[in-house]
Amino acid sequence: MDLRRRELLLRTGGLSLAGLVAAAAPAARALGQGRLPGPVDRDAALQAFADTMLPGRKVDRTESGAPVAPGAIAGVHPLPGAVETDALALYRHPKVGFDALEPAFLADLQRRAGGDFVALGFDARTRVCLDGLSFDNPSRTLWEAAAAVPFTAFCAAALSEEQTAERAAGYRVMGLPGRNLRGYRRFSYGRRLSRERTRTGSLP
């Protein structure tokens, strides 16, 4: 099927849209650019959303030393969460490009929260996110894109230059030591643990 350029832009979300959030572009368009209801601390709202996805302990600063908005972290988990691992910085990273979706997402977040999402308690925040991430929500892909960012910040330490458990709280929580140039010695049980079907490893 041949598509004209304009049609293609409509289907792919346009060149201004960054990759991780590509699939969410139609949902963002459907919601319009999203007028935020009243003054909203965008940083706080994104951090509160990230904390609902991967909750963590209360801290004033992230791993990189950036400030955490007051009230953004609900403090329902004793270990570091996505906010502490710089989810906000990843939302704003030019190689992610969430800026193209941020207005529409925040407007929908606030609308479903019935006001300031940050002012809600953790359980209420969770209900809002269940609503947003529901299969009944036509803009679900927008929410999935927003959820992918804190996971990437936490589980991949995507902004950590060091990539070690000492410097990346997400790795520490997961029990992943991170980079290792010396190697592991006890990496194997060192013995046969099952019968094998093949002689070579491949089926005939």
């Binding site: 991949a156 006890r186 990496f187 049980y189 643990l193």
Partner: protein, 555 residues
């Protein structure tokens, strides 16, 4: 003014590198100059293994990966000189005989027939598999080299009455540090990418590899002996965006080796200049039946039931070491085409936490939230299982993007693919069967908890196949069994795009073997295409292992 070359190869992954080496040795044997063979690669070059990093920092991921987000699927592909071999996990398996006999019967996909051309069977491919195994230095690991995660899977299967096989790997054991960082490029030079054999040997013979050069389109020319004009653009190494005016090559032979995510869009863009191109170009895109699940072990049950010491070592070892074929052969329920699957233990990355649903009630968050956070804190007690199922190729490109193979909006790792993917009935059914099988194995005697793939954006795949599938004629596919594009002499697709079905195993070795076979046919007909004719007695040889000084010292 177009640059004139004998052969232009687009892409430097398995397909492009195998072809480059086989042509290079032909040129050397014939006394011709291999410098007239040019390999264009859109990614950058990593001259040394130490240029890779054990890192998922977004900057490094942007260099080595492209995550193509389509409508209904996310597909990971490799970037950089060496293509997918930089980031593959080195499992090197021959696809079972049954694969090549498949009859998919997908609605609307032509008559009931064998999906592969008659010339391709396991028996006919075996010599090429052997050739690729020698080149990639494939070895089956000893049990003492099997990761704990792989051993745990083997023991779990054994406890459930199943067999489990060690997976042959393209890894040099004495150089491997067993740190599970294959996926961002091996910094030890232990994983055999094409950069240490096929491509390195081709370059040493004189083949030119041009990084940061992305092929855009192909058109015919009447300026014989040249047949095609290939248009390419230089990509900024940092920006990943086209820079400068288009660059043209006149070539006698063009080989498209950009993979299933790359070759189909290029042909589709070229369609106005290649009017006889099969209408199947861009269709029948597959994901090799990839389907993953998470398995969270109970440490006490591992000790009490399996009699193994405490685990919590998911991060150690090699990413793939064991798998079972018991659901491919030997079971009545898996006897028929479209019902079979293999189950392989795999370490994807820590990022794949995102993929797993921890299985709570529908009214609660399943893949995020407080309980998910708790589950993540037990990550080290997991393994991941990759089911490779006999699905159908359910995807299709709906257009060629404006440039390259996908819309790349910035210098980040994610691009927008112009394709749709909707699982067909068989694809859903066989995945559900795989889930049931995994669950049955691991929940027996309370060993572990099953975490199914989240129902977010459709298919997650790292093994894209098809889009220019080989077939018996242009009414069913794009190329013949040699990778030759129907209707266009001297134009080839030699890569994963020609694979017509899922393979049941990790596809890299099959892609390499098919490429060996296609390259052999290309070499045999080289004289007719205006390239040096194959001299009498010419025989292919194994490419040397060419290591950087760093690796030699470490070894």
């Amino acid at each position: 003014m177009a640059e004139r070359v004998d052969v232009l190869i687009a892409g430097s992954g398995f397909g492009g590198s195998v072809t480059a080496w086989r042509l290079a040795e032909l040129y050397v044997a014939a006394g011709a100059d291999p410098r007239s063979i040019v390999v264009a690669e859109r990614g950058r070059r990593f001259p040394n293994h130490t240029d890779f990093r054990q890192s998922m920092h977004i900057d490094h991921l942007s260099e080595i990966y492209m995550l193509v987000q389509g409508d209904g699927a996310q597909v990971v592909v490799g970037n950089g000189v060496g293509g997918g071999s930089n980031v593959y996990l080195a499992a090197s398996l021959r696809s079972p005989s049954e694969t090549f006999e498949r009859r998919d019967r997908r609605p609307g996909d032509g008559p009931d027939r064998r999906m592969w051309p008659a010339e391709i069977s396991r028996r006919s491919l075996d010599p090429y598999y052997a050739r690729a195994e020698r080149a990639l230095r494939v070895r089956r690991p000893a049990w003492r080299h099997v990761s704990k995660a792989g051993g745990l899977w083997a023991k779990t299967l054994a406890a459930a009455g199943h067999t489990c096989d060690r997976v042959p790997l393209a890894i040099i054991e004495r150089r491997c540090a067993n740190v599970n960082w294959c996926h961002t490029g091996c910094v030890f030079g232990a994983k055999n990418t094409v950069n240490t054999n096929y491509l390195a040997s081709a370059e040493r013979a004189g083949v030119q590899v041009r990084p940061n050069l992305e092929v855009q389109s192909v058109r015919q020319t009447s300026a014989r002996p040249y047949r095609y004009v290939v248009t390419a653009v230089a990509l900024g190494e940092r920006s990943k965006q086209p820079e400068g005016p288009p660059i043209e090559f006149e070539a006698k032979v063009v080989v498209l080796s950009m993979g299933a995510m790359g070759t189909p869009p290029i042909l589709m863009r070229s369609r106005p200049q290649l009017p006889s191109l099969s209408e199947h170009a861009g269709r029948h895109l597959g994901v090799n039946g990839d389907h993953v699940a998470g398995v969270e072990y109970d440490p006490r049950r591992v000790r009490d039931v399996l009699r193994l010491p405490p685990y919590a070592d998911f991060h150690k070892g090699k990413p793939i070491t064991t798998m079972t074929y018991d659901f491919w052969v030997g079971r009545r329920g898996n006897r028929w085409d479209g019902t079979r699957f293999t189950l392989q233990e795999i370490f994807l990355t820590s990022l794949t936490n995102f993929l797993y649903d921890d299985g709570r009630e529908p009214a609660e968050p399943s893949w995020w939230g407080l309980q998910k956070k708790d589950a993540i804190s037990r990550w080290a007690s997991r393994i991941e299982v990759l089911a490779m199922v006999e699905d159908t190729h359910d995807g299709a490109f709906y257009a060629a993007p404006h440039s390259g193979s996908a819309e790349r909006p910035n210098a980040g790792p994610i691009a927008i693919g112009t394709f749709t993917y909707r699982f067909g009935e068989q694809s859903v059914r066989v995945r559900e069967a795989a889930d049931r099988a995994i669950r049955g194995i691991i929940e027996r005697r309370g060993l572990a908890r099953f975490m199914k793939l989240t129902e977010t954006q459709g298919a997650y795949a790292s093994h894209p196949l098809g889009g220019c599938r080989m077939a018996t004629g242009p009414d069913l596919g794009v190329t013949d069994h040699r990778g030759a594009v129907f209707g266009y002499e001297g134009l080839y697709c030699i890569d994963s795009s020609i694979v017509p079905t899922s393979l049941g195993v990790n596809p890299s070795l099959t892609i390499a073997a098919l490429s060996e076979r296609c390259a052999e046919h290309l070499v045999a007909s080289a004289g007719d295409l205006g390239l040096p004719a194959r001299p009498p007695g010419f025989a292919p040889r194994t490419p040397d292992e060419i290591l950087t000084e760093h690796v030699r010292r470490a070894a």
